[in-house]
Structures are given as structure tokens and as C-alpha cells.
């Protein structure tokens, strides 16, 4: 592309406007997010009981996908075993409610902690493995746990457990618990990946040897990440049990849980913190629209997954950002004196390359 040499006074006004917009963008994002949380917090005021249950499920999907994304996306450890933690959470809260007199919220917390403890054990076993070996190893653990639960008489083997009547919560309480968990999970993960810890995690993902040479010890980082990821999934598992009130191994430890987490994350955008939220909305909408034909909806989701990995492997959210940015550039250049803006664009390209504007 030809470059137009441009003097600096010509550049000045559009650049400042562009930059101020760029500064504004993250705040705009936070503003929208805050508004959404506020809107959600007032949910029970305008939602029917049926809608509250739907929202409960959606929030749990978001929480679980967000947690999977911490390990699978930011950590690069493609776990196929996260169903284990859903099941562990569900069963822990059921067993505690049946056999201990502890208050419900403490039971819930313990179900997350047990999942985290299991994840720590699993991490001790699996963390040496990389890529596909880790995936298959985690799947093996989860399947082994499922077959164990199918035979364990203490938890009712194949018939499972019924939660005591005292555990019955009304819909808006369940709704708030799920919303609260989602907010806490998302905030924790957003802060975590922006912290030095998160940088170490991503450095290990991108090149473990290079990270090691820089003095990053990968083992504790992976271990903690695995435990945090499982903790939130375990809490979601506990909530799911509180909603269903009866649990059995085949559904509590179902492969479908981890499948859902992965699909949502990939569709929305792996290793982004908004991706799993957007992905969950897309996935859930598809599921609800086609609820009369479950097979059709999972067929479409599978095809969507393949399409995305083939055409836009970074996922919908980064794709939307890219398009949005292009649109923004287009609008700006129209509003500013069009000639000038174009000059700015091409001048910037000459300096910084085109990478920011999209790869192609």
C-alpha cells in the first residue's frame, strides 16, 4: 500500500478523537456490564418463576464455561474431565444435607471445596501430561469416577440420592445464588488472568520451556488454576443439585457437562472473559428455541462448533470485536473530514502495520 506523507498538524484532531474513544471503550464495556448485572439483580421483580429457572440454568452454564475457560483457555489444559467436579459438587451437598446438620450455605461452600480438593489430587496425577495426553487422562479419571459412583452403595449407586425437603429453596433464592456465583466467578477469573499469576499461567501455556527458563515454576501455577477452576464448577454442581432435588450418577457425572462447557467456550471465544458469557447465551438460546427437538439442537450445536473452529477459531466475541472495530473506524473516517481520516489510517498502517485492524 502506498503511504501518504502527512504533516503532524494535519493528523492531530482525528488522532485525539480516536485515542479518546480507545480510552473510553473499556469503561463503556464495564458500564454495559454493570448495567446488565443491575438488570439481572432486579430479575425477580419482572421475571416469572419459569423465567427465573431458565435464567438459573443460563447462569450456571456461564459459570461452568467461565471456569473451564480458566484452565482450558488461559491455561491451555484442555480438560475433558470437568464433569467429575459437577458430579462431586452435586453429591457433596446431597450427602451433607442428608447426614450433617450444617447450614445450607456452608454445605454449598464445602461442595466447592471438595471439588477443589479432588482437582488438586487429579492435578498431582495429571499435570505432567500435556495436550492430548492430559485431555484423555482427565476423561479417564472422570469416567472412572462415574463407574465408581454407579457402584457405590453409600450414595445409592445407580438410583442416587434424594435431597431432604429442608433443602427446597424458592426460585428467586436459587436465582440469586446462581447470579452471585456467576458474578464472583467472573470477577475472580478476570482479576486472576490480569494479575502476575495470570501472566505466568499464559506464559506456561504458550511455551512451558521458555517460561521455565525465566524462572516460572509451572507446577504450582497449574495446580492452583486447576483447583480454582474446579472450585467454581463444584459450586455450580451444588446449585444444580439444589434445583433438581434428586441426583443420580449418570446425569450428575454426565459427559454432557464438560461438552457443554467446551462448546460454549469455543463458540464464544476461548481465552477471553466475555466469550463464555456470549457463548452461553448463543448455546442456551439455540437449546431453548429447539427444545422440542433436542437431537436437532445438539446437531446444530455440533455443526456450529465445527464451523467456528474451521472458519473463525478465535470464537464469536473476538470476531464481533474485530467487526465492531472496523465499523468504528469506518464511521470515524466518515464523520471526520474523510480525506484526513484516510490519511491517518494509512499513515498508521505504514508505521504500525495492519495487525490491529484485522489480519486479512
Amino acid at each position: 500500500m502506498k503511504t501518504h506523507p502527512a504533516s503532524s498538524d494535519q493528523l492531530a484532531p482525528p488522532v485525539t478523537r480516536r485515542q479518546s474513544l480507545r480510552h473510553l471503550a473499556p469503561w463503556l464495556g464495564w458500564g454495559v456490564l454493570g448495567l446488565l448485572v443491575l438488570l439481572a439483580a432486579l430479575g425477580p421483580l419482572y421475571l416469572s418463576a419459569f423465567d427465573l429457572v431458565l435464567a438459573f440454568t443460563l447462569f450456571n452454564y456461564m459459570t461452568m464455561a467461565q471456569s473451564w475457560n480458566l484452565l482450558g483457555g488461559y491455561g491451555g489444559q484442555f480438560s475433558l474431565g470437568h464433569s467429575l467436579f459437577v458430579g462431586a459438587g452435586s453429591y457433596t451437598i446431597a450427602v451433607l444435607l442428608l447426614h450433617s446438620g450444617l447450614p445450607l450455605l456452608l454445605d454449598l461452600l464445602l461442595s466447592g471445596l471438595l471439588a477443589a480438593a479432588l482437582a488438586t489430587l487429579a492435578a498431582l496425577l495429571l499435570m505432567r501430561l500435556r495436550e492430548a495426553y492430559f485431555s484423555i487422562g482427565s476423561l479417564g479419571l472422570a469416567m472412572a469416577a462415574l463407574t465408581w459412583m454407579l457402584n457405590w452403595s453409600f450414595t445409592g449407586a445407580t438410583s442416587g440420592l434424594n435431597l431432604p425437603p429442608a433443602a427446597t429453596l424458592d426460585y428467586s433464592t436459587l436465582y440469586y445464588l446462581a447470579l452471585g456465583l456467576l458474578v464472583v466467578t467472573t470477577l475472580t477469573i478476570v482479576l486472576l488472568v490480569r494479575s502476575p499469576f495470570g501472566l505466568r499461567l499464559m506464559a506456561i501455556r504458550d511455551d512451558q520451556e521458555a517460561a521455565a527458563e525465566l524462572g516460572v515454576n509451572s507446577f504450582p501455577v497449574k495446580l492452583v488454576t486447576f483447583a480454582i477452576s474446579a472450585f467454581f464448577v463444584g459450586l455450580a454442581g451444588g446449585l444444580i443439585a439444589l434445583n433438581k432435588l434428586e441426583i443420580e450418577p449418570d446425569s450428575a457425572f454426565s459427559m454432557n457437562w464438560v461438552i457443554t462447557m467446551i462448546i460454549i467456550t469455543i463458540i464464544g471465544g476461548i481465552a477471553t472473559s466475555t466469550g463464555p458469557l456470549l457463548g452461553a447465551v448463543v448455546f442456551f438460546t439455540l437449546q431453548q428455541v429447539l427444545q422440542n427437538s433436542q437431537a436437532l439442537s445438539s446437531l446444530l450445536t455440533g455443526l456450529l462448533l465445527i464451523l467456528i473452529i474451521r472458519l473463525a477459531p478465535e470464537g464469536l466475541w473476538p470476531l464481533a470485536l474485530k467487526l465492531g472495530r472496523r465499523l468504528g473506524e469506518g464511521l470515524l473516517s466518515r464523520f471526520a473530514h474523510s480525506k484526513q481520516a484516510e490519511t491517518v489510517l494509512s499513515a498508521q498502517e505504514a508505521v504500525g502495520g495492519r495487525s490491529r485492524l484485522g489480519e486479512r
Binding site: Y133, M143, I262, L299, I309
Partner: protein, 289 residues
């Protein structure tokens, strides 16, 4: 008693070799872990089921048609979906084969319903007496098939030009391309071959056990246990690994009870991965013998 379980396990192991061989080939040549291997197996079983109920031919005879169909499907999957993703790394390939798993599972449910099906033939319920032990005839057939497939693949890889091209592409795709080997084509053929071999394994599964839309992942894990034990991608390793897992599962199940079969295999998989992730025998298909 233990001796009988050893014999049973040995023949069951033959079946495990036939189901794992396709995974071995795909990993050994393309370095791809095909998460949809279970669905390739179950899909073949469904195809055989359809063909056998249409023509009333023997299921094993149906393989003459089912294996080529699976070859074409495998070839197309590799050429259209997986080849373009190779530069993006292993994780992308995992997701892609995972997507295939989902789509296949759903299609099976849509077409055939969620019931457990099985293939039947005159030899599914009969036994053969070997060293005083009665072994299911189908397991004996499976072991013979396993030996034929392993030896056949070995001969193909060693002596035929196609096999040499496959090995070259496995060892160094760039160098192979530079001496005029059409690497994408070779990859396509390899995946096709793997799918055709899995058609044999899938049909044998259908004849030995029941199968349903979601039974694939349990077979994926079994196949994976076999090839991890055998050294990820080694032909002879797969043979030894399969036989060993068969024996181990049969003997352990006789000790702790048959309801723990899956638990035994999956726990064993995790243990092998932890203790010796590079496996115990042999080298990859592509890398010299």
C-alpha cells in the same frame, strides 16, 4: 480358573487390537488424537447393522461394503476438515474431532433411536474350546482379524510405495512434500485407511456387545488405553497393548467383580499415563521400525 481367565482375556485382547489400530495409524502419521474414534467404530457398527438387515447377509461379509464406505468418509473428513486445521496446532484438531464426535453421536440417535442394538450371526452365541476353556467364537474371529490387520498394515507400510509415502509424510511432512509426495492426499488416505480398519473393529463390537449412540466414548478410552500402553502410534505396540489390556481386564474383573470392568480399564489408563506416558513398546508407525 486363573488360566481360563488368561485365555479369555487374550482373545478379548484381539478385539481391542482391532478397535485401537485406527487410532494408532492416525496418531502415528498425523500426530492427531482422534476424539471421534469411538464414533468411527460405532458408526461402522450402525452401517453394518443397516446393511445386514437390508440384505440379510452375514455382518462380516457386509464389511466388504462398509469398509470402503468408511474409507471414503474418513478420507473426506481429513481432506475437508482436518488438513486445513493442522497448521493451527493440536488443540484445534482436538476441538474439531470433538465436534465430529458430537455430530456423529446426535446423528446416530436421530437415525437409529437411543436403544441399544446388536448384530447377530450364527457365531455370536457359540463357543470354541481352547485348552479346556470355552472362548466365544467371535473373540477367536477378532484375534484372527487383529493379527491379519496388524501384519497387513505392516506389510503395506514396509513394502508398498503408498506405505513408504505414508512413512515419509509421517516423519517429515516438509521434506516429503519437497520430494514430490502429495502430503494432504497421503494424510487423507491414511485417515481413510484408519476408518476402514476401524470398520472391522466396530462390526466386531456390534457382534460381541451391544452398542448405542453414546457408547463411543467408552470405546475411545479403551482404544486410547491400548495405544498409550503400546507406545502411541506403534503397530506392534498396539498388538501387545491390546492383548495385555484384554488379559488384565478379564483377570481383574474376575477378582473384583465384572461391574468394575470399566473402572479397571480407565484407572489403568490413568496409571499408565502417569507412570510411563511414552508407553512400553515400540515406536511410531512413521518412525522407522
Amino acid at each position: 480358573m486363573l488360566f481360563y481367565h488368561l485365555i479369555d482375556g487374550f482373545f478379548l485382547g484381539g478385539l481391542y487390537v482391532t478397535i485401537a489400530l485406527g487410532l494408532t495409524l492416525v496418531f502415528g502419521v498425523m500426530n492427531t488424537v482422534n476424539l471421534a474414534q469411538g464414533e468411527v467404530l460405532i458408526g461402522s457398527a450402525y452401517l453394518t447393522y443397516t446393511l445386514a438387515s437390508l440384505t440379510h447377509l452375514d455382518p462380516l461379509l457386509c464389511l466388504l461394503l462398509v469398509a470402503p464406505i468408511m474409507f471414503v468418509i474418513g478420507y473426506l473428513v481429513q481432506r475437508l476438515l482436518l488438513n486445513p486445521l493442522i497448521p493451527r496446532g493440536q488443540e484445534t484438531l482436538l476441538v474439531a474431532t470433538f465436534g465430529l464426535l458430537l455430530v456423529a453421536e446426535t446423528l446416530f440417535g436421530l437415525i437409529y433411536g437411543n436403544n441399544t442394538l446388536s448384530l447377530s450371526a450364527s457365531y455370536t452365541l457359540t463357543g470354541v474350546t481352547i485348552f479346556g476353556d470355552t472362548v466365544r467364537t467371535i473373540y477367536v474371529i477378532a484375534l484372527v482379524a487383529a493379527l491379519l490387520l496388524v501384519v497387513g498394515t505392516h506389510l503395506l507400510m514396509t513394502y508398498l510405495p503408498l506405505g513408504k509415502a505414508i512413512r515419509a509424510a509421517a516423519e517429515d511432512p516438509g521434506a516429503a512434500a519437497s520430494i514430490g509426495i502429495n502430503v494432504p492426499l497421503v494424510y487423507g488416505i491414511t485417515f481413510g485407511l484408519a476408518a476402514a480398519i476401524s470398520a472391522v473393529g466396530g462390526t466386531l463390537i456390534g457382534l460381541s456387545f451391544g452398542f448405542g449412540p453414546t457408547t463411543g466414548s467408552s470405546w475411545l478410552l479403551r482404544s486410547f488405553t491400548v495405544i498409550v500402553l503400546g507406545g502411541m502410534g506403534s503397530l506392534w505396540g498396539t498388538l501387545l497393548g491390546g492383548l495385555l489390556i484384554g488379559v488384565l481386564e478379564e483377570v481383574a474383573a474376575s477378582v473384583v467383580g465384572p461391574q468394575f470392568r470399566d473402572l479397571i480399564v480407565f484407572a489403568f489408563l490413568v496409571i499408565v499415563l502417569i507412570v510411563r506416558p511414552e508407553g512400553f513398546f515400540g515406536q511410531r508407525v512413521g518412525v522407522a521400525k
